[in-house]
Amino acid sequence: MPMLGADMEAGTLVEWTKRPGDAVHRGDIIAVVDTQKGAIEIEVFEDGVLEQIVVQTGTKVPVGTVLARIHGTGEPARAPAAPTPVTAPAPGAPVSSEPARHGESTSAGRVRVSPSARKLAESLGVDLARVTGSGAQGAIMREDVERAARQPAAAAPTVDRAAAMRAAIAAAMTKAKREIPHYYLSTTIDLGAALAWLRTENEKRPMTERLLPAVLLIKAVALALRDVPELNGTWVDGSFRKGDGIHIGCAISLRGGGLVAPALHDADRSALPALMRSFQDLVARARAGALRSSELADPTITVSNLGDQGVDATFGIIYPPQVALVGFGRIASRPWVAGERIEARPVVTATLSADHRATDGHRGGLFLTAIDRWLQTPEKL
């Protein structure tokens, strides 16, 4: 069970989208897990063959639990359909006559099913992956299939999702405030050039391809992180770990309360139109409760934009184990001194909340200045 953010402790396996014997490739969706953040699609990290499903559907398991075994392509191939030996019970563990509990399958390779149970399952349309076996070593018997057929398909989440998410946010933010010595910086950025460029650009584009100002801000943050990489990464076991790419966690508020901050992967390398499409897709899926595991596990920094709510500036709490959060307020027309004149200009306040264990204010200042600099040359974003 992957850790999908610092606030996650457990997840419920809702569905396996691959079966034992199926070939899997890095990035494939292999399962769906229900968490406080909704149903998350779990991606595979390696190429190989799905050898064994360890955790059955409907089971809630803690982070770190092995969900399935994948036979890597580099290893000697084993015919997936070949009968696999039954693993010996763990030393000292008696062979129990009790029904095998979910997640404690004692058979390796495939689920043990009596032939008549398999036949019955087919005729009743029961998914054997969802059946708990009561036979020897967890084998599925006829009566298990009958019982499963009488039960609703998937275990419905019983906890109130909003309350669970509130509790998860509370835990993560309390941890952040307790452990991370935050420092805060803010700067006001003239967006005159960026918005003028955006207006011209959007006039040229079909309606479906127009860009939002938020995408320019995200891209500017991503490029500024190239200039100041010390803010892009995580603080783990007492030291800074540089991010393996620039993956911007975008704080997205959910209808009905709560928020998630899934990643826009490699935002520094995405052209603006592609970044806009990814951002639209991410917001839509976050609100529909259909994010992917890598999106929750990978962010190397968070951007929180509360400008639409009318605030002037956002002073955020860092999402552990990240080391920085960039906040934006609303874009507003304000008096601005340009040369010897005072003009009305669209400006935005950018703030940085950063982990003082990883960086000092000097670095943070360079970073905010870099964001400002990138926004003055929007054509280079």
């Binding site: 309606m207 479906t208 127009r210 939002l212 938020a214 209808r255 009905g256 917001v283 839509a284 639409d308």
Partner: protein, 86 residues
């Protein structure tokens, strides 16, 4: 399409984006931003939904003319050449 039908379309698309909206509670002359919890992505999706459903081309400079229910209906009617009361 009559004004009433256009109004129906606008309300339907708004509630598709923000399902918590009570259609009966929308005040026609007050801006959506003031009375509904819509962010810029929601508003963009709203405009795109109207474009897809009604086939109207809406330049970005006109987005401000869609800020209330009354204005949005009037604007869409003018774009579609709908006469008042038809």
């Amino acid at each position: 399409m009559t004004h009433d039908e256009l109004r129906q379309v606008v309300v339907e698309e708004l509630t598709r984006i923000a399902p918590e909206i009570d259609p009966a509670a929308i005040v026609p002359g007050v801006s959506f931003r003031e009375q509904l919890d819509l962010d810029s992505m929601d508003f963009l999706n709203f405009v795109l939904a109207l474009h897809a459903r009604l086939g109207v081309e809406i330049p970005e400079v006109d987005y401000a003319r869609l800020s209330t229910l009354d204005e949005a209906v009037a604007y869409l009617a003018s774009k579609r050449g709908t006469r008042l009361g038809t």
